[in-house]
């Protein structure tokens, strides 16, 4: 099957993986000799990766799988040993019971003292033994944590990172209850305005340099560095320079402590109150995977969610901060029929009856490439039934080299694959405008777009005999609507978007719809069923699976197979 869905971008069979046998905490385990580094290049497997495979967590601050290795925080120190080789025969020395003799690594000048190695940057070798739970390892962790906390202000009660802070977590797991440090702490700059979206507290910083490496090696903006020296080391931008690229907020995510905080989120909400919902960013066709943090129906933040097929661990600042519209006070909350407040049953019955009697070719549908694929599919079913001309509205911006796509619609591919729009989205809108002008098109259905901005101005709109509009926020088109149906933001319903590269990704519901608003797919399914062009879907799963069976590009895809990170279809 040529258009079978795949979960990996490169479907070629991987070459056989060479394995090395090592021991982690006394348990034998085979681990790959080579593993991908932060750029995906195969490099020798490290002790830290081997321990992860063995399900033994090795605490770390500076190591991040998507950043170059720095090895500066020392938190991942572990005790280890290597097989003893006979210098004469170059053969392994064995114990009396036949097992290989292991030499634990010790200080060369003090052979009684174990010498740890940083697990993040030490490659494994055959026969190696790693002791992530040994007393010596435990002692090393305690020492490193004590050292990291020497100048730390210990202001957890008012720190934004509290609840998701590695310094807190490791202090609980690996630290000591008391510090032996009695001298005055070094004081460093507080509340440093690093850029338009970032505030830095240098006293909380553990100097792991994740932020420096991220902005230099991933974002391509070498803006941050460490100034001064010794205990006065301080993360800083160059004097007079702003840390203001479009990816700065990722440094807040990867900062293992409370040093880098988001101006948008800081002091707004304790993180343990947030409900986390898996979703997808709607700001462009890249479709970065996100986690929505909400509490009591209010969205407080977006954070990127790992998906190596789409956004790795990152997202742009513009997309991340583009959530406040969901909670805007002027959200459409009422069903309105010719300006009067109405109800769903009344409005839908009238719309259904009207569409049933509409002459073939007298209806046009302008959908939005911000709608879910399921909604676009249902609109397409209606269009087929009514012989309606359809299109969506394109949204262009500037692309960048990392994540931002020029196409600012999250679901342009969904609009194309369901047949709502052609490759060039918006190409039929002038035809629709002409149809209205000529009186051929007498009913216009608009979803989620202000058509007065794309060539169907208020005067032309006034010529439409029946204007059926569903939207989230008020605009000139909703003001002119005969039937106004309040819809849902993506965070208020479930559905899928298909990103620019054909990744079908589902998103879940984080908050409740406002007022009378209903997910568009629900009421579209009712109308489509009443007109006999679709089954009465009661679940998004059933709707998706039916759509997948009818849309050629989605053949073989099922809701249950989408997982958290989606599947790629040919586009």
């Amino acid at each position: 099957m040529s258009n079978a869905p795949t979960t990996a971008p490169a479907p070629t069979a991987p070459p056989p993986v060479e394995k090395i046998r090592i021991k982690v905490d006394g348990r034998e385990i085979d681990v790959p000799k080579m593993m991908p580094d932060w750029q995906g290049k195969l490099v020798p497997t490290t002790m830290l990766q081997a321990c992860q495979i063995a399900a033994q967590e090795v605490p770390h601050y500076c190591y991040h799988p998507k950043l170059p290795i720095a090895g500066n925080c020392r938190m991942c120190l572990v005790e280890f040993g290597t097989p003893v080789m006979d210098p004469a025969t170059k053969k392994p020395v064995v114990n009396e019971d036949g097992s290989p003799k292991i030499a634990r690594s010790v200080l060369p000048y003090e052979p009684g003292t174990p010498r740890g190695a940083i697990a993040c940057a030490t490659p494994i070798s055959p026969g190696m033994e790693i002791y992530p739970s040994s007393p010596a390892t435990k002692q090393m962790r305690e020492a490193v944590l004590e050292s990291l906390l020497i100048n730390h202000p210990l202001d957890c009660p008012i720190c934004d990172q509290a609840g998701e802070c590695k310094l807190q977590e490791y202090s609980v797991q690996h630290g000591q209850a008391a510090s032996r440090f009695v001298e005055p702490k070094v004081h460093k700059p507080k509340a440093v305005d690093l850029g338009p979206r970032i505030v830095l507290d240098d006293e909380r910083c553990v100097l792991c340099t994740r932020c420096i490496r991220f902005t230099r090696d991933v974002a391509g903006d070498d803006a941050l560095g460490i100034v001064n020296r010794g205990s006065y080391n301080t993360i800083s931008a160059a004097p007079g320079k702003q840390f203001d690229n479009n990816y700065t907020l990722n440094t807040v995510d990867i900062c293992p402590v409370g040093a880098l905080t988001s101006k948008d989120f800081r002091f707004k909400m304790r993180v343990w109150f947030l409900k986390e919902t898996k979703s997808v960013c709607t700001s462009c066709s890249t479709g970065c995977n996100i986690t929505i943090g909400s509490r009591e129906n209010v969205i407080h933040r977006y954070e990127p969610r790992d998906n190596d097929a789409v956004n790795a661990s990152w997202m742009c600042d513009a997309g991340r901060l583009n959530y406040t519209w969901v909670g805007r006070a002027d959200r459409l909350q009422e069903v309105r029929v010719r300006g009067e407040r109405s109800t769903w049953p009344v409005a839908l019955a009238q719309i259904t009856e009207h569409l049933r009697q509409a002459a073939e070719g007298s209806v046009a549908i302008i959908a939005s490439a911000r709608q879910t694929t399921e909604e676009l599919y249902l609109l397409r079913r209606l269009a087929v039934r009514l012989g309606a001309i359809t299109d969506a509205v394109e949204r262009e911006g500037e692309a960048d080299r990392l994540l931002v796509s020029a196409d600012r619609n999250p679901n342009s591919q969904g609009a194309r694959l369901t047949g709502i729009a052609y490759t060039e989205i918006g190409i039929s809108i002038p035809t629709i405008a002409d149809g209205i002008r000529a009186g051929r098109i007498r009913t216009l259905v608009v979803f989620g777009e202000d058509v007065t901005k794309v060539g169907i101005d208020a005067a032309l709109l006034a010529k439409v005999e029946t204007l059926i509009v569903s939207d989230i926020l008020p605009n000139a088109t909703t003001a002119a609507a005969h039937y106004l149906l309040p819809g849902c933001a993506h965070a208020e319903k479930r559905g899928t978007f298909i990103n620019g590269k054909g990744r079908v990704q589902k998103f879940m519901k984080a908050v409740e719809p406002r007022g009378d608003a209903r997910p568009e797919w629900e009421f579209l399914a009712e109308v489509a069923k009443a007109l006999g062009t679709a089954d009465g879907f009661t679940t998004i799963e059933g709707l998706f699976n039916r759509m997948a069976s009818e849309v050629p590009a989605l053949a073989g895809v099922e809701w249950s197979k989408l997982g958290d990170t989606g599947v790629t279809v040919p586009v």
Binding site: D222, A223, L224, G225, I226, V227, N228, R229, S236, A237, A238, P239, G240, K241
Partner: protein, 161 residues
């Protein structure tokens, strides 16, 4: 005050850059030369160095703030560096510095380099000047004064006035 590097110095630095496999490696030599010429490393000098070597200003700023020998503000015309490492400390460097500081009307209890209001002198403690056998030693600009006495101090001060 606009920042401009003389053409001759710039040519020297450009030539110097070719001695290194990476341009970046010339950073320290640039900063030394600029400090030699201007008396200190100004923010403009940092930007200029970064521009010449294809770096970001923060990369150079890291170096300037790491090494105490680089000055970020102008210092006095006569710079007095009193060694305070072990041999000199035992031989009385503390009294020596105090002598300088008090004669110049500066604060003996203040840490770090201090410059007189007229801009003529800067006095500071430094670490080992590598002349332990002749402790205590003082560097006056580029000259080493060995077995420095109070009388030497006064001579240095009167010469600098």
């Amino acid at each position: 005050m606009s920042f401009s590097v003389p053409a001759k110095l710039e040519a020297q630095l450009d030539e110097l850059t070719t001695h290194y496999p990476q341009k970046r490696s010339a950073s320290l030599m640039f900063l030394h030369a600029l400090q030699e010429h201007f008396g200190y490393v100004s923010p403009e000098a940092v930007d200029w160095t970064a521009g010449k070597l294809g770096l970001q200003p923060i990369n150079v700023q890291e170096l300037v703030t790491f090494y105490p020998m680089f000055r970020q503000t102008p210092l006095g015309k006569t710079q007095v560096k009193v060694c305070r490492t072990l041999s000199c400390a035992l031989a009385g460097s503390d009294a020596l510095r105090k002598h300088f500081v008090e004669k110049l009307g500066l604060d003996a209890h203040k840490h770090g380099a201090q410059t007189t209001a007229d801009g003529k002198f800067t006095v500071e403690f430094v670490e080992c000047l590598a002349s332990c056998g002749t402790a205590p030693v003082v560097m006056v600009n580029d000259d080493l004064v060995e077995k420095c006495t109070a009388a030497d101090c006064d001579r240095i001060l009167s010469r600098g006035r």
